[in-house]
Symmetry: C2
Subunit: 416 residues, 2 copies
């Protein structure tokens, strides 16, 4: 994509009303624009990142046999009343000229469970796993921290339906493994943390937490084993011995929750009369699980963890493009030819072909936008017939032919 | 995709509360589920169709140089007040615990224009074209007719920004041509119809109307030339001579509006102070256009135009899969091998591998779901080593090898 044909406008000034690193860098890089507290527009560069994140999520959801659908945001009042959630504080409400009242979906058990109730008959119809990537609304009094805590945000919500708790338990850990793969691909090191069960279960739920000083949650974890609990449920504190491995010491960290998994049990199947006939013909309640990842929140968390003073450092699979090609004075023709070369070979390249930007502006924008590979064509590189290629997180550049550069980029995407 | 691994549940009964062909067939085929008046869920099969339609739209939007972004639905009151649209009847309103009021976007000039105002400085920054595919909300008292007129629906909205009316005029017809391509690819024969300008312009706007007896609009058109007007603006009536070509007679038809294009002029740039400096350094108002297509409405219109008693007949580029492979008794192994063959060669196939459905149910479901090509493997076909391949809109089947079948399907997708 040519810079001049894509709507990119980096900003020289930091935003006045944003404190978080994710909001500040995403604003300056031209990824997002704040429309109101907790409400953001995704500009073309930002939508590309969101699409890349969604692609990773879809691949891993499809790999565990889940099917994608799309549920509405405008949910009639009766659905919320059926489960007693019409008056939860986070629900945005609206009404239309016919008098019909709606709650804007912050989660979709209420809509999906009746759909399943009309389609599940026997144990042969189970298990099922359905997910969507959809816009959620949440009256969030603490909206702040950029994309991490919004009033409108993108959510991947997966729901699973099982004949019994044993099968839910099996799938619960399948999803947990899929989540670990997703966050690993997105460059987010996560700790799986035991947390409160909410209304639905007395067992722990599990949160996928990115441990970072800027997170809003407090996590106690063992430095030696995988024991980790959210402060809400923890009976240990910093410096205690680990109750699980008996060897490590408990440490404390802040965390950003980027995913969670819930055993819902039968609460929602009771409300919707979601039953099936077991092998002896007896009616049983379907057992459910639900599982969330916020792609827009993940985008914010990625930036919190991956930036330096000059800008963002996108992990490969979340970057808006695979490489950022910059034409400097005297390198324009070489850059044009290289862009043709990369495009013909199927690479998705951002090509800074601006005639009215200085070399300094172009190189600063490349660091700010933060794509993994920077390729420079200049008078110097044109002379030797090679391109200058540099990884965003490295200080060292190499001079490579276009074909060698293509190999270098391709290889980096195949290493996981 | 294997039928047994994808959440497909066709319904034997017609829905009780739906009159339109699109809602009735899409319900029975398991594409959509009604959640409330004018509010639908897209089940996995329906989301696939929506994605295919969106893909065609994206390709043609990108081809005319437009960049995709994503704007929020939750739009603070001040944006609507700035253009005097806070009290338009179709606006859904909500408020949050902080007292902030919002209107749910039914269109996005209010959000996008200020974003451009902060980024456009000179004539060199123009023209710009930005679009999104996003969920819209509209308090529609006449919600009915399935996906054609909803309260929540998917919209592709494109906005263009120009230095002067002449450049808007140029781009206006570029978009018109792109729209014709989109509807042609989606199997929707459209008539470009002159219509009222709304609040923004004294000139005609143009609607892309599918002429069909079930449409809600009334169109007068010339049988000999391209003259066509919406009843709202028409000064002719049925039987009159054509005022344009002077040869044809005016005929009348109902129509479904699947797209529209508007010259907005400077109304919104005035409200947002969206100006640029011309070549002499003088400030000028940016001239705008806006252009809409409803992908979910297009999905409904496609079904209205493309069905028979047995089910839907999807045009190739809107079909949820490229072919529908059916295993009948004795053909299971052949079908398994054929599915492998097609999948390895990159085809996107729905494979009805159900063990518990009768041949009659499987063939009826194939007609109901309505994918362009049906491929049957049975005891008979297994014996001769060929597959029975039939187009959805044909009565005649052929016996072809898997490789020949693949060629047949591939060729059909390359013919436009």
């Amino acid at each position: 994509m040519r810079f001049t044909q894509f709507f990119i406008r980096t900003q020289k000034e930091w935003p006045r009303d944003e404190e978080s690193a994710n909001a500040r860098f995403l604003h300056r890089g031209g990824f997002i624009e704040k429309i109101g507290a907790g409400v953001y527009a995704f500009l073309p560069l930002g939508l590309r990142v969101l699409d890349r994140i969604n692609r990773v999520i879809r691949e891993e959801m499809n790999a565990i046999g889940a099917s994608e659908l799309l549920l509405p945001a405008l949910i009639p009042k009766k659905y919320w009343e059926a489960t007693g959630r019409w008056n939860v504080p986070v629900l945005y409400k609206s009404a239309d000229s016919s008098g019909q009242e709606y709650g804007l979906g912050f989660t979709h058990e209420e809509v999906l469970t009746p759909i399943l109730a009309r389609r599940i008959q026997s144990f042969r119809d189970l298990p099922q796993a359905l997910y969507q990537i959809q816009t959620k609304f949440r009256d969030e009094p603490r909206a702040r921290f950029g994309l991490i805590r919004g009033k409108e945000f993108v959510m991947k919500d997966l729901y699973s339906f099982h004949a019994d708790i044993k099968d839910l338990e099996r799938f619960y850990w399948v999803v947990s493994d899929a989540y670990k793969k997703i966050f690993s691909r997105l460059g987010l090191p996560v700790t799986v943390v035991e947390a409160a069960g909410g209304d639905f279960t007395k067992e722990f739920t599990h949160e996928f937490q990115v441990l970072t000083p800027v997170g809003e949650d407090t996590i106690f974890y063992c430095a030696k084993c995988d024991f980790a609990q959210n402060k809400e449920v923890a009976k240990v504190s910093s410096g205690d011995g680990c109750p699980k491995c008996q060897k490590g010491k408990i440490e404390e960290s802040n965390g950003i929750e980027v995913g969670n998994i819930f055993r819902l049990g039968t609460k929602f199947s009771e409300a919707a009369n979601l039953v099936y006939k077991d092998s002896s013909g007896k009616e049983q309640l379907v057992v459910m699980g639900s599982y969330g990842i916020g792609p827009s929140r993940a985008m914010g968390a990625i930036v919190e963890l991956n930036h330096d003073d000059a800008g963002i450092r996108w992990p490969k699979e979340a970057a808006p493009f695979e490489a950022h090609l910059v034409a400097l004075p005297g390198g324009e023709e070489q850059a044009d030819a290289a862009y043709e070369h990369f495009t013909e070979h199927g690479f998705d390249i951002l090509y800074d072909d601006r005639a009215d930007a200085t070399p300094g502006e172009k190189l600063a924008d490349a660091d700010l936008i933060g794509i993994g590979w920077r390729i420079v064509a200049s008078a110097k590189t044109a002379l030797c017939g090679r391109l200058e290629i540099k990884a965003r997180d490295s200080r060292d550049a190499e001079l490579l032919t276009p074909a060698e550069s293509a190999d270098r980029i391709r290889t980096s995407f195949h290493v996981r």
